[in-house]
Amino acid sequence: MPIFTPRRTLANWNFFRADDRLLLIVIALMVGICSGLAALALNRSLAAVLTWLHPYRGQVWAFVLPGVGAALSSLFLNKVVNEGAGHGVPEVVYAVSRHGGLLRFRSSYSRLISSFLTIGSGGSAGPEAPVVMSGAAIGSNIAKYFSLNDRQRTTLVGCGAAGAIASIFNAPIAGMVFAVEVILGEWSARNIIPIAMAAVAGTEVSRILQGNQIAFEYRHFDIHLVDIAASAGLAVAAALASVLLTRALRATHRLSGLLVVPAWVRAALGGCLVGLIGLRLPVVLGEGYHAIDEMIGGHFASGLLIAAAAALAKVLATALTLGSGGSGGIFAPSLVIGSLVGLVYHRALIWIWPAIGLVNEGCFALLGMAGLISGMLQAPLTGIFLIVELTGGYETILPLIIVSTIATTLSHYFEPASYYLRDLVERGQLLRPGTDRRVLTDMSVREMLETDCVGVAPEMRLREFIEVVKRSRRNYFPVSDPRSGIFLGIVYLDDIRPYLFDPLLYDAVVVGQFMHADVQVASPDDDLHEVLRRMDTERRFSMPVVFNGRFLGMISKATLLDRYRRELMVQTHWR
């Protein structure tokens, strides 16, 4: 016998198992640091490559740069790491919803590299969603290393997302709120503490390595009642712009799918078109944070019409970049489009009513950003806190709240789910914690099987059947072919009531004559949600479960309710 059995995982060490909550906080710090470093790496490399390519942007041939970058990005994702394209946030939410936050290790670096190629070459996309994907995958894989359970792993996925957002924007509160509001969809004390620690760690990594800078220079704005009133109109404009961007993204994705060419060629075509737009309107290229800074500072020189055209061009460029297969996220483009919408709205108001006395147009650019982010993500708190932290001032908090909440409400009216979640909602895969569907998903038909039913043959006479009924504790009796074992139907106790009091029929009637042959059945692999829906439609309290033609048992609402309660208690424990 071996004298020394090595511990298989660190999680088995007593030191780590002393207190699960403490363990989670310590690991959350690790996740926050790692995801913060990943975010920073992408941010710094993007800054370097954009600076390096800047002198060439004016050349006519430069329109191919975004095409080359998008093609390389597509080839990297599809051929090198063999991972599906996209910004990845829906994949993270799906993993949290269905699989306890399990994410592939390759996701922790693949989107960083692919989005670096897309955005660095001038594609209109943002690095935030890729770093969220990366941070979430880092959290998931660290949880796997420590053999943590599903709930702890899910929390660490949120920690990764929070750390990444906190690091890339130097915005810890926005990171926390984004993780909870968009990724986890659950506010609970169990989640908040580790996520807060990860956000702090991610932010601190950013501050140590690149200084405590805010993304956009702080400006003081004097907000009056008229500005707050005007912000309601801006919210409508921002909501419409967010709906336009969402639909443009989906339309280009659908249209590019119709092209019968390899994925990298599609991405290259989309990138080249973006490059062509960029020759006339350079604001559409890359992340576009420089243009935002100009708008907030009130230095954006172009007139009203050019700004409006730039907003539309940015929508088109983002849709072409991401819809054709480029890699990146919608955060940064939303900020650019939002600030352009705010600017255009402000200038249009001044043009119509010169004496209105609004605050500086930079403030409306800020509010537009919050409106677009809130409309796209349908997450008002993320929009509010992100803008507050990006600009370092609280003066705009009241109009920010108004713009974010109205934009979220209006965009929800046009788009039933946010851009990130719409596919999941359409596929019925968005399972938020504590919801009915989530509880049902965590249970299976196999667990619910009641196997103490007594089977009967179709040739059995009523007299014998009554003997079976006497011995059974159940009100239903599956009928199967005695030779092949194939399920034929079911007999409910109520079915024999008319014959019970006529002994003459005892030897004249056989089971096959009164069984239900066209009964609805469930399969052990069916979703419980679907089984329950069928039981409701049929107004049945139980349903036979049949697999490969054979009866396995019954599933009943009584058992389901019992298990449902227990599962709900497990899922809501420690909230």
């Binding site: 090595p6 996209g86 993993a95 269905r98 699989h99 592939r104 196999r446 396995l552």
Partner: protein, 275 residues
């Protein structure tokens, strides 16, 4: 409920050979052959604590109707009960999810030029990940389909080998074939190994069920494997050790794969199916 074996269909000569062996295995142990006709060149299997991406060669993607016909023909020739698995959940449009609640899985066909050339390049990274994470054993088809008439367990005394023993006993009972065992002595005596049976609660079952015990004193493991009959289904535990040890001592699994042409059942560290 009958046991289910998941087979990933691949419309290549190697893939069809694997299907024949999977169908034969299912018929012998009266399991349901569940075949997945791939929709894309990759899919994900979500285990309890890991998610494994299985990459397939483009050759595996055949027109579904043609593949379905071929699978049905081969399964009926082998006398196996057949079911097709259709994924219901997708991580992304081209990434279906395959559940991990099967009782056995037939190892996915090898990918890449090297994998195809060796035919039994079966212990690649993908298979290691599956074995480490799965709660079911993996059927690794041999180079050619040989109807097995006995089951042979490779027993070296480790925890995984004990699980393999348990699985061997169950499968032999289920398939009604004799059970044999091969042990390379490595300095130990038969009694020492018997003590391990006893500790695992297998002594009685093995004393009754074991037909032959090949106890080899050969210096090299390859030489010991010469005792494995050609018509045996070989069962062994796998990946019961950490990679560093594998680096220094070499892997017995790799040796088995390189030397034996037989079909293999590999039981990973997370246990083996109770039959």
């Amino acid at each position: 409920m009958e046991k289910r074996l998941l087979h990933i269909h691949c419309q290549t000569p190697q893939g069809l050979e694997g299907l024949r062996q999977a169908a034969y295995f299912c018929r012998r142990i009266r399991a349901l052959l569940t075949v997945y006709l791939p929709l894309s060149d990759k899919f994900l299997v979500y285990f309890e604590n890991d998610v494994v991406q299985i990459d397939l060669d483009g050759g595996c993607l055949a027109p579904v109707e043609a593949a379905r016909d071929q699978v049905e023909t081969l399964a009926s020739q082998a006398g196996a009960k057949l079911d097709f698995f259709v994924p219901r959940h997708f991580t992304s449009a081209s990434l279906p999810d395959i559940p991990a609640d099967f009782d056995f899985m037939c190892s996915p066909p090898p990918t890449g030029r090297r994998g195809r050339q060796t035919a039994r390049g079966r212990t690649g990274h993908q298979i290691q990940r599956i074995l480490r994470a799965a709660r079911y054993p993996l059927l690794v088809p041999g180079a050619f389909h040989t109807p097995w008439q006995r089951i042979l367990v490779l027993f070296g005394g480790s925890a995984n080998a004990v699980a393999a023993c348990r699985l061997g006993l169950s499968l032999a009972r289920q398939a009604r074939v004799p059970l044999e065992m091969l042990t390379q002595a490595e300095g130990g005596t038969r009694d020492e190994y018997r003590e391990k049976w006893k500790a695992a609660g297998l002594a009685g079952a093995l004393e009754d069920g074991l037909q032959q015990w090949h106890f080899s004193h050969a210096r090299r493991f390859e030489e010991s494997l010469g005792a494995v009959p050609a018509d045996a289904l070989v069962i062994m535990g796998a990946f019961d050790h950490i990679s560093i040890r594998e680096f220094f001592h070499g892997s017995k699994l790799k040796t088995v794969c390189a030397v034996l042409p037989n079909s293999l059942i590999l039981a990973g560290p997370r246990g083996a199916t109770e039959i």
